[in-house]
């Protein structure tokens, strides 16, 4: 066991896989010598050489499109896009090719490829550096979307993502890249994709979140406990395929449902969770499900960002209203 941050856990997962599988290559903008702008890939080029861990030219569509070519011809690329808001030039390759090649070729070609990028707000960043586009990606048939919330999960989920024969979008909560330290096994382990995790058991309200919002929810739960509300917290871990069963079982138990996510509320993962509650647990609901989500706005720059970001107080406010409904 070692104490790791999310950055270190991801680095460790890449290290383990690079060591074990020669078909893995890691590249993106600044990922080689510098180790990425967040130092996630630090030291890997030195250890595995410039053919396996390298800097690509600055072009996101090419990073992903060329990665697809590699995946079709025997490699397992793990590519990094530098920021959430810079993934869009590669969107065409993701939605038009990466996600479709297995279906298009009737299974003749598999796409064992991971596209990693940091996402989310709360770091006083420039425009395009604070976005949460998980719904855009989760809406695309043919890919999986994974978001860890702890160092342990980051390592286990990334190893599972790299070993998946389906393409995976791996979104990393940059706000807590170094904010959480946790004992993580030094050994190789993986966490199955598509399975949510009940983090805290409770009886009054089901609270579903993922990524950086888990920590905010945990703070809100402490407040709720003081107010006598027992909250069951579920970490989605994988956005798509979404784990309907774990969510539904919990809603059936509590009858009340609150969703927390940073992304704009409309047409979001929150909207999908609402649909699940309605379709799967309609008769068990004792209060209208509630979304605590980003506004349908651009994430404001630093001065305005605190108004946008979801705080434990705001989560508690909605938890209490839902519990008392």
């Amino acid at each position: 066991m070692s104490v790791m941050t999310i950055v270190q856990a991801i680095n460790n997962a890449l290290d383990i896989k690079l060591e074990e599988d020669k078909s893995i290559v890691v590249y993106g903008e600044d990922t080689g010598k510098e180790g990425g702008v967040f130092r996630v890939t630090e030291g890997l080029q030195k250890k595995y050489g410039v053919e396996r861990v390298f800097d690509s030219p600055l072009a996101e569509s090419a990073i992903v499109g060329a990665g697809l070519g590699m995946a079709l011809s025997g490699l397992r690329p793990v590519v990094e896009l530098q920021f959430d808001g810079f993934t869009y030039p590669a969107f065409n390759q993701v939605i038009s090719n990466v996600s479709r090649m297995h279906n298009r070729s009737r299974g003749m070609y598999k796409v064992p490829m991971v596209i990693r990028f940091p996402y989310g707000g709360g770091i006083n960043a420039l425009e395009h550096h604070s976005e949460s586009p998980e719904a855009l990606y989760a809406h695309i048939p043919g890919i999986k979307v994974v978001i860890p919330s702890t160092p342990h999960d980051a390592k286990g989920l990334l190893i599972a993502a790299i070993e998946s024969d389906d393409p995976v979008i791996f979104m990393e909560p940059k706000r807590i890249y170094r904010a959480i330290k946790q004992e993580v096994s030094d050994d190789k382990f993986s966490i199955p994709l598509g399975k949510a995790k009940v983090l805290t058991e409770g009886n009054d309200v089901t609270l579903v979140a993922f990524g950086a919002m888990i920590r905010e929810c945990q703070k809100a739960i402490v407040m709720a406990k003081e107010a006598g509300i027992s909250v069951e917290l579920i970490d989605l871990r994988t956005i798509y395929p979404i784990d309907k069963e774990t969510i539904t079982d919990s809603i059936k138990k509590t009858g009340r449902f609150v969703i927390v996510a940073e992304a704009p509320e409309s047409f979001s993962v929150g909207a999908e969770l609402m649909a699940i509650a309605n379709e799967e647990a309609f008769l068990y609901l004792e209060a209208p499900p509630k979304r605590v989500m980003g506004f349908d706005t651009i994430v404001p720059l630093a001065k305005g960002e605190p108004l946008y970001m979801i705080t434990p107080e705001r989560i508690f406010y909605e938890l209490e209203r839902t519990a008392k409904y």
Binding site: A62, V64, A66, G69, L72, N92, Y109, K110
Partner: protein, 379 residues
């Protein structure tokens, strides 16, 4: 001191100038070996091909043309959906087909019938695809061929990535990819050439400059003197070739292949040609081009030219009409096989989306099956 850098005379190895060097795209030079009458106008560069190879290449071009024209008529008969004809562009692809190896890679766009066939894709598969069945993209006999790629220019990047794999795995394969003149305006075109240059990977990019991107002429795509010259900005060689001249295309590809296999990296070939047919069977070229223009280009037809060359050399003794009849029969058989492929089962909609199918998708299928059963029960 600059003079210190002078290479001693005896260490310079004399070798014939590379073909790419002789046709500098900055000067808008074009590589051409036979003229429209089949006369050899550049004897020095004429490739050393035996008669049998030339005859076989012509037959492949003829076969592709017949298949293409039959595809258009099958579409007209309502037996196939939208189809993009290759009429007039056969020489480019058959020239490449002479050199492409079984283990070389092909990342096609969607007007590559002849090179796909040369790579071993069956006509049955191609017909099946245009009948609206993805099984036509699961190639039973062709190795290392990607499915038809419709989003313009996006396939070029896949070839670049494959080039990286080839180099990484220390193989001597070559990745081969096509784009049209319109596709050169896409960002992916520039990105693919740039990455291929930086990575020094074995990729051959061919622009089939057939003069039109649907209705938009090349002059509306670029202010550049030609398309081949764009390679130079990415540090890779580029050459403009008469794409309707089989021999010119052959020697350009030969050099590009030799360079790629020798680890010298990527190449861009602009093949000047003319899309004699429509963009697809849904298009009407009379809306945007003149009969006079079409007739002018007819004089450069790649099959007519190669045939004239063979006639002049006295090596063509086949009865072409009889040959076409044989081809038609064969093509028709392939079409019948495709038509008899069978129904499109519900499974096929779902089962290839993921290697590991999500539970939610399984449920969507199961729900639809319940609906089907209900529908059946009402009959």
């Amino acid at each position: 001191m600059i003079s210190n850098l002078k290479i001693p005379e005896k260490t310079i190895i004399k070798q014939p100038a590379m073909i790419f060097d002789q046709f500098d795209p900055r000067e808008d030079k074009i590589l051409r070996i036979i003229d429209n009458e089949g006369e050899v106008i550049n004897k020095e560069l004429m490739p050393d091909l035996d008669d049998e190879t030339i005859i076989k290449a012509y037959k492949s071009m003829l076969y592709a043309r017949v298949a293409d024209q039959m595809a258009v008529s099958f579409q007209r008969q309502g037996r196939m959906y939208t189809y993009p004809p290759i009429l007039g562009q056969e020489a480019i692809q058959i020239a490449a087909g002479q050199l492409i190896r079984e283990d070389d890679w092909l990342a096609p766009a969607f007007r590559e019938l002849a090179i796909m066939m040369a790579k071993g894709v069956t006509l049955k598969e191609i017909f099946l695809y245009y009948m609206g069945n993805e099984h036509g993209s699961k190639f039973s006999k062709a190795n290392h061929v990607l499915p038809i790629c419709v989003p313009i220019g996006s396939q070029l990047l896949h070839a670049t990535g494959i080039g990286y794999s080839i180099k990484y795995q220390k193989k001597d394969e070559v990745a081969f990819t096509f784009v049209g003149d319109g596709g050169t305006s896409e960002g992916d075109f520039s990105e693919a050439l740039n990455f291929a240059g930086v990575w020094n990977v074995p990729v051959i990019f061919t622009i089939q400059n057939n003069q039109y991107a649907i209705s938009v002429p090349v002059k509306s795509q670029t202010k550049s003197v030609n398309l081949a010259v764009k390679a130079l900005g990415f540090g890779i060689p580029g050459i403009k070739v008469d794409g309707n001249d089989f021999f010119a295309m052959y020697v350009a590809y030969k050099e590009a292949f030799d360079n790629a296999r020798a680890g010298k990296g990527a190449t861009l070939i602009e093949a000047l040609t003319y899309r004699k047919g429509a963009h697809t069977t849904s298009d009407d070229p009379s809306k945007y081009r003149t009969k006079e223009e079409e007739q002018e280009w007819d004089k450069t037809d790649p099959l007519v030219r190669l045939k004239k060359y063979m006639d002049k050399k006295g090596i063509w003794h086949e009865n072409e009409e009889k040959l076409i009849e044989e081809y038609k029969q064969e093509i028709d058989n392939q079409f019948t096989e495709a038509e008899n492929f069978g129904a499109y089962p519900l499974d096929d909609v779902f089962q290839y989306m993921y290697v590991d199918m999500p539970e939610g998708l399984k449920k969507q299928k199961a729900d639809y099956e319940l609906f089907q059963a209900w529908k059946e029960s009402r009959k």
